[in-house]
């Protein structure tokens, strides 16, 4: 993120990530919220309920019996023309799975916060990115924030992106469980008037509304020709491509309003003169950047490529940054069983064969990885490439010794 002069007057607050999400939902004047409690998401909907009870947000809060119902409810609300929001984590997200696909392919705007968390068994409430990444094929736009300010900004911009006629796809915003969700950080928040001038109320006619007395539209019945389905997926693909442009435009406008400029899809720190890049997403990117800075001090020509959006996949950005590098090291806080790190798998295909590559599986189960450990892992990778020539390691399991 870079800063420019802000047009809007902003208020500096200290908020935890979950409350920053709630603040963005309030400023977006969301009409319908439905969610089910799950740690570490719960603080989002608790705060939103309070806002509604106090009359700060005029919205229906629908207390449902499951996450499946939560997403089904906000989906219904979106089809009924409302600006709708839900939030979940881990098992809750997986309980929504069928509805995730239905909502996305119905092409209605919805925003969802996903506070990332490990999937059991064993039970574990700590941070991991596997849950968020498991929805990557469903048609949701997926962002992942690095800090509380970005959590707020990503949530607020998500409404604008999702409702854009060129996009019309739901947006999921990821924030690291506890590390962002429960950690207080200072952030700047624009005023309601400024947000209103930038984000008008949702137009219920876009893309369509199902309502009594309305146009006799049918959404979702069987197609006569199965090729219809393929065509609809192609349209979805085109919208994902459009989303890359729309995300850039939205952040440009938002940058003028708030003075905060983002990537938009990726951000590369100290990359212009780098020979090696580390790739990551989410909160630990801050720790990795710290490691990169230390390595720079030691003379290592390394940068950090941080993915802000995973869908649409920032293929062009990644291709541009990895070509000409001597090595790429990807950090995954997730695991696709039988394959490896999910980001490593997706990025690996874009790394030319003459560029060294390593996929690191770390931080699984919520294990903390310190800046110094990142420094060691990156340093070892670079040293090895410099010593032995091109290497290709798809999976490097970084697991600390278990104390008994």
């Amino acid at each position: 993120m870079t800063r420019q002069a802000s047009l809007a007057r902003q208020v500096r607050k200290v908020l935890i990530g979950d409350h920053a999400v709630a603040e963005a939902v309030k400023l977006a004047r969301v009409n319908v919220v439905s969610a089910y409690p799950i740690t570490p998401q719960t603080l989002i909907v608790e705060r939103i309920s309070e806002m509604i009870e106090r009359g700060e947000l005029k919205a229906d809060f629908i207390r449902v019996e499951s996450e499946f119902a939560a997403l089904a409810t906000v989906y219904g609300a979106a089809v009924g023309g409302a600006r709708a929001f839900t939030a979940t984590s881990s098992h809750g997200l997986f309980y929504m799975y069928e509805m995730l696909w239905w909502a996305a392919a119905s092409r209605v705007p919805i925003v969802m916060a996903v506070v990332t968390r490990v999937l059991g068994p064993p039970w574990n409430i700590h941070n991991e990115h596997t849950d968020l990444l498991a929805i990557r094929d469903s048609g949701w736009i997926i962002g992942m924030a690095q800090n509380v300010q970005e959590v707020f900004d990503m949530t607020l911009t998500a409404f604008k992106i999702s409702e854009d006629e060129r996009v019309l796809l739901p947006v999921a915003i990821g924030l690291d469980g506890f590390i962002l969700s429960h950690t207080a950080e200072p952030l700047d928040i624009p005023s309601q008037e400024d947000v209103d001038s930038w984000l008008p109320p949702r137009n219920p006619k876009i893309p369509y509304t199902i309502e009594p007395g309305g146009e006799p539209i049918t959404m979702g019945n069987l197609p006569r020709d199965d090729a219809y389905h393929a065509l609809l997926k192609k349209y979805m693909d085109e919208s994902m491509e459009n989303a890359k442009r729309v995300i850039a435009e939205v952040y440009t406008e938002y940058g003028k309003l708030t003075g905060r400029n983002y990537g938009p899809l990726t951000e590369c720190y100290r990359c212009s003169d780098a020979k090696y890049i580390a790739v990551s997403m989410g909160a630990w990117s801050g720790d990795i950047l710290y490691a990169v800075e230390r390595l720079r001090d030691e003379g290592y020509p390394v940068g950090l490529l941080r993915l802000r959006y995973i869908r649409p996949f920032p293929e062009e950005d990644i291709t541009a940054w990895v070509s000409g590098m001597r090595g790429v090291i990807v950090f995954d806080r997730d695991y696709s069983a039988g394959l490896g790190g999910i980001l490593a798998s997706e990025i690996g295909g874009l790394v030319p064969s003459n560029v060294s590559f390593e996929g690191v599986l770390a931080g699984l189960g919520g294990v903390d990885v310190s800046p110094d450990e990142f420094r060691g892992i990156i340093k070892d990778f670079i040293d090895k490439v410099e010593r032995e020539g091109p290497i290709r390691v798809r999976k490097y399991w970084y697991i600390p010794k278990i104390e008994r």
Binding site: F68, G76, G80
Partner: protein, 301 residues
Amino acid sequence: MVTLSELHKYGTRKFIMPGTAACPGCPLLIGMRHLAMALDGKFAMVIPAGCSSVIPGTAPYTAYSVPVLHVPFASSPAVASGLVRAIRQRGNEGPVVVWAGDGATADIGFATLSGAAYRNEDILYIMADNEAYMNTGIQASGTTPWKAWTTTSPRGKTEDRKDVALIMLMHKVPYVATASIAYPMDFIDKVRRAMQVRGFRFIHLHAPCPPGWKMDDSYTIRAARLAVETGAWILWEYNQGKLTISPPSIPYKDKSRRKPLEEYLKIQGRFAHLKPEDIKLLEQKIDEQWEFILRLAELFK
């Protein structure tokens, strides 16, 4: 009360376009048409997976003449909750109807149903009950009667059926009723009375399915009527604290006036394997159900 002359007015109105994908003798078209008559064609429908998602035919065409949202199997009460909240916020007071089968209602969607009912969402929920998963090829559901043949109960179902209407009653919603496609005046009146009330309204519509029940295509209405005349299906209505036996069922409070149960069972191939003692037990279950409903009628006077 709806009059015959009013029904005649609807005689030529095509609420559902001809040429649907429904089987011959399908009770769902009959019931949905009655629903549309009751609401004068002005409503929106949420339809979960089931026969009614296939019946309207294939996009870009549809046989349904009202706005329809097709949704995943278990989701319809939740989707309708969100939908109705959104349109009410925008000032639309029109009816949002969930039209669902027994599988979506009694089984897979039971949690979302219970949630929407307990929140008293402003929805009219019609459970069109053909007593099995007919769209997937006749598998036993929570409302399939005891001993009925289905493809997953080849020797007859071993469990009793769930009484979804009574379970809804215990959710303390303002309106719950049973209805039958053989009694359109009763069903239409119930839909209209339900529309006088705000909140969650549930109608359990009995809908005999010829292929699923292994009977002749022409027997749909006959089977539905015999279910009432033998006492096997009791028409009742709970409206804001008062439970009454509906007019078509009133004669059958008196057991001696009920037709022999065999008349209802013998036209259905799914009961062909029943032994005399099974029929006796079924009769006993019917008696118990009557006693229970009559007691409830006493309780909710």
